[in-house]
Symmetry: C2
Subunit: 252 residues, 2 copies
């Protein structure tokens, strides 16, 4: 059967999702857990190959396995074999041909900024620390320019191999709770480093270094040079992936 798992992890200690022979990766740790559980090498197809240092609460992956363990119980068996910074939150059987990267989906990311005079040691692993004034009102004015279907070439890391850089952003919300600023973005897919470049650009707006209206011109320019810097990985968390095939029609 094909099993879909939902995976949460603290990316701090990992060289990203994707398996590399000489680095510690989320996929590598999952493969080890699968081998320990089922006694054989098992390939995994990840929905989102997050970068080094990026976190996830709801990444997804599938693998094929022949076992008498009910699909729903596999999560528990894997967790017993995983380090405590990786957790499988759910496991379920899906159609044999379900592919997490070739299925329409809605992804939600959250970028966290900690804005104070001094870094907060309890938040340092999961947020980007910024001192100095950040005006979230300005960031909120900039946010709507990102929403909709756009060619996001200006917000894609140089060197990306993807040909089609058109993506749809469904929502982008900036909120503040005391010293914590959160950027929450949903879309049908994201280019390489896209969320981190959007976060870095919104920060420049919040710091008063860029007018909110500039976003429209940067998108139109398709020029990576005009956008802001790539914000650090530690602030980024992949929150959720909703696959349209798996959810009742009309839910998204």
């Amino acid at each position: 059967m094909r099993v879909l798992i939902r995976v949460a992890y603290d990316g701090t200690a990992y060289s990203g999702w994707q398996f590399q022979p000489n680095a510690v990766t989320i996929e590598g740790r999952l493969r080890e857990a699968l081998k320990s559980l089922f006694g054989r090498e098992t390939d995994i197809i990840g929905a989102s190959r997050t970068d080094a240092g990026v976190h996830a609460l709801g990444n997804a992956a599938v693998f094929d396995v022949d076992t008498r363990i009910p699909a729903e119980k596999i999560s528990y068996a894997l967790n017993a074999r995983l380090p405590d910074d990786i957790r499988v939150c759910r496991s379920e059987e899906v159609a044999k041909d379900f592919h997490p990267r070739h299925t329409d989906c809605v992804k939600t990311y959250e970028y966290s900024i900690y804005n104070d005079k001094f870094e907060n040691p309890k938040k340092r692993l999961y947020s980007h620390f910024c001192y100095g004034k950040i005006d979230t009102g300005l960031m909120q004015k900039a946010a709507p320019y990102f929403v909709g279907e756009h060619d996001f070439s200006a917000f894609c890391a140089a060197g990306s191999q993807v040909a089609d850089k058109v993506r749809t952003v469904y929502s982008l919300d900036v909120s503040r709770d005391a010293n914590d600023i959160s950027i929450r973005i949903t879309g049908n897919g994201f280019l390489y480093n896209m969320v981190r470049i959007i976060a870095g650009t919104l920060l420049k707006v919040g710091q008063g270094d860029m007018e909110p209206q500039m976003i429209e011109r940067i998108i139109a320019s398709k020029d990576r040079q005009l956008a802001g810097p790539t914000a650090p990985a530690r602030g980024l968390t992949l929150m959720e992936i909703n696959f349209k095939e798996l959810i009742p029609y009309g839910h998204v």
Copy 2:
């Protein structure tokens, strides 16, 4: 001059506050930073000697130093010499005879519980994970029994050398935000492991293993055996210490 510093730290990697020759401690790291900054060994008097694994956002300490650096700038100079899991959030000059353990104060601790089916990797270092149903309404019913001046012998780790076990708890609030349960307690001082034993006891109440009214009888018994287990260190954070001498009368 005598300098009072406010110290925040992620206690995960430390054998607690207090200096030990063969262990990594917060006090040890601060002493190294002071030696690097001022060129000589400098003793530190901590307000609260937190245990291994316990965190702080507002611990306090004093040291005596002869320097031309303004007291308010010492925090910056120390931070440049400290690992990123320790931060000095403030430094100020205080009276030569100010002693952080012999000065009346109000301390605030927070104990964090993460209550879900699976552990959240991003919260694992800063909360105690509990699966299964926890009724915070029952915990809220138990909370008022702790408030007031009591002999807290039943909530003190065995082997404590302190003779007088009477302490005053000013407030104890239990709140829930989705899967996060928070126990916030303020008082004029806490016995060894007192907050963690209170948290462990409140958890038993929330899990339905103990009636809220039992708290009154446990306090009266002065018997450590009747209280619940000591909850793990990782869930505990020393939030704030307000020294009465340093704040306008009537503020607390």
